[in-house]
Symmetry: C2
Subunit: 214 residues, 2 copies
């Protein structure tokens, strides 16, 4: 069975949880305490040398990292992955946009809001970086708004992997201090994504407990 090393706070983990649930694929979920360094132990680094969740253990014992690569792998033979070449390319374009122009700003400000305790130095550094990250996150939301103004979903007018990837941190952007009011097309799209069959919330503990030790 597939095993997902994950953390409930992570939107990147949520992408994979949501896709597996919508595909109806059974999986074990191992909650990994990233705040206690559980993704940087020697055992974890043997699974993913980059020390990050989500990391997926496959049935053959191999591992795959990077949330958006995992989405492509899992969706490949499903309706959530486009059959047409240009639609696949556009899906990848939005997945790379998400990781480069969206996640480092929108996800990071939310992550900061969830951090348990900070030193005075960490707090000062965050305050110095916050305005720049806020501005670039708003730029990303502006690009999404522009694209969604006359579209129902990101690619080919049907729900797919690009929507899952961009939904993950956009729908909780307000937790990081972003106001979604100026982005009505984004808000309509969020509602359409949340209305898809077998949608689950980011806080839902889907998946099974692992049958053996991690």
């Amino acid at each position: 069975m597939l095993r997902l090393y994950d953390n409930l706070i992570s939107g990147n983990g949520y992408k994979v949880r949501l896709l597996l649930t919508q595909l109806g694929v059974a999986f074990e979920r191992v909650e990994t305490d990233i705040f206690k360094g559980e993704s940087r132990t020697p055992e974890f680094l043997a699974r993913n040398p980059n020390g990050r969740i989500p990391t997926l253990r496959l049935a053959d014992g191999g591992h795959l990292a990077e949330s958006n690569a995992i989405l492509c792998y899992l969706a490949e033979d499903s309706d959530l992955w486009p059959a047409e070449r240009m639609a696949r390319a556009e899906t990848l374009q939005w997945l790379f946009f998400e990781q480069y122009s969206h996640e480092p700003y929108i996800a990071v400000l939310r992550f900061w809001a969830h951090l348990p305790e900070l030193t005075a130095q960490q707090e000062a550094q965050q305050e110095a970086e916050r305005p720049g990250r806020k501005a670039r996150g708003e730029e990303a939301l502006g690009v999404m708004e522009q694209h969604l103004k006359d579209r129902s979903f990101f690619v080919g007018e049907r729900y797919g992997v690009a929507d899952i990837a961009l939904y993950a941190y956009t729908h909780v952007a307000e937790e990081g201090g972003f106001d979604l009011a100026p982005y009505p097309a984004v808000r309509s799209w969020l509602a359409r994504v949340a209305a898809q069959p077998n949608h689950v919330a980011i806080t839902a503990e889907v998946g099974q407990a692992p049958a053996d030790a991690a």
Copy 2:
């Protein structure tokens, strides 16, 4: 004919230039002065609302952005894109690693070194951010070193798209102040990539001049 909106300083542009050359695909190249805002004009934003190069205009007039998405699209039917499902997933894993854990540190420090003029405030901000970006760039090089210790190329022991994506900024990392001496496996791999048929340098003006105005 394909048209690549590009800038010679860009490693992201270089990825596409290098792949097109190695695939033997003819293309027009439009040098876009990103320092003068040429990627943020209304005309450019109509091609790519995210306002970045490289952006590829396809034969049908459509556009594709995000360097790594362009690589996947162009390589799809070639030997540089794996036929096997897991190798494709691993290729995508390394492409997302490159954009999330490598480029924002290794490419950005090099970009700063090439910037024409800075205000005192910009300079102060760069100096504040430099140590953190240096450390994370070195982490990325460490992950690559670990992976390449017993491998010739990133995926499946053959040269492919993952190598092109990671080569682009790694081989010029020293321009941003990174020392590659502690990474011997990375240096051997750089030499193997540079020895591939039809390899071109990042400074090479490949492609054709556009037949009409941009």
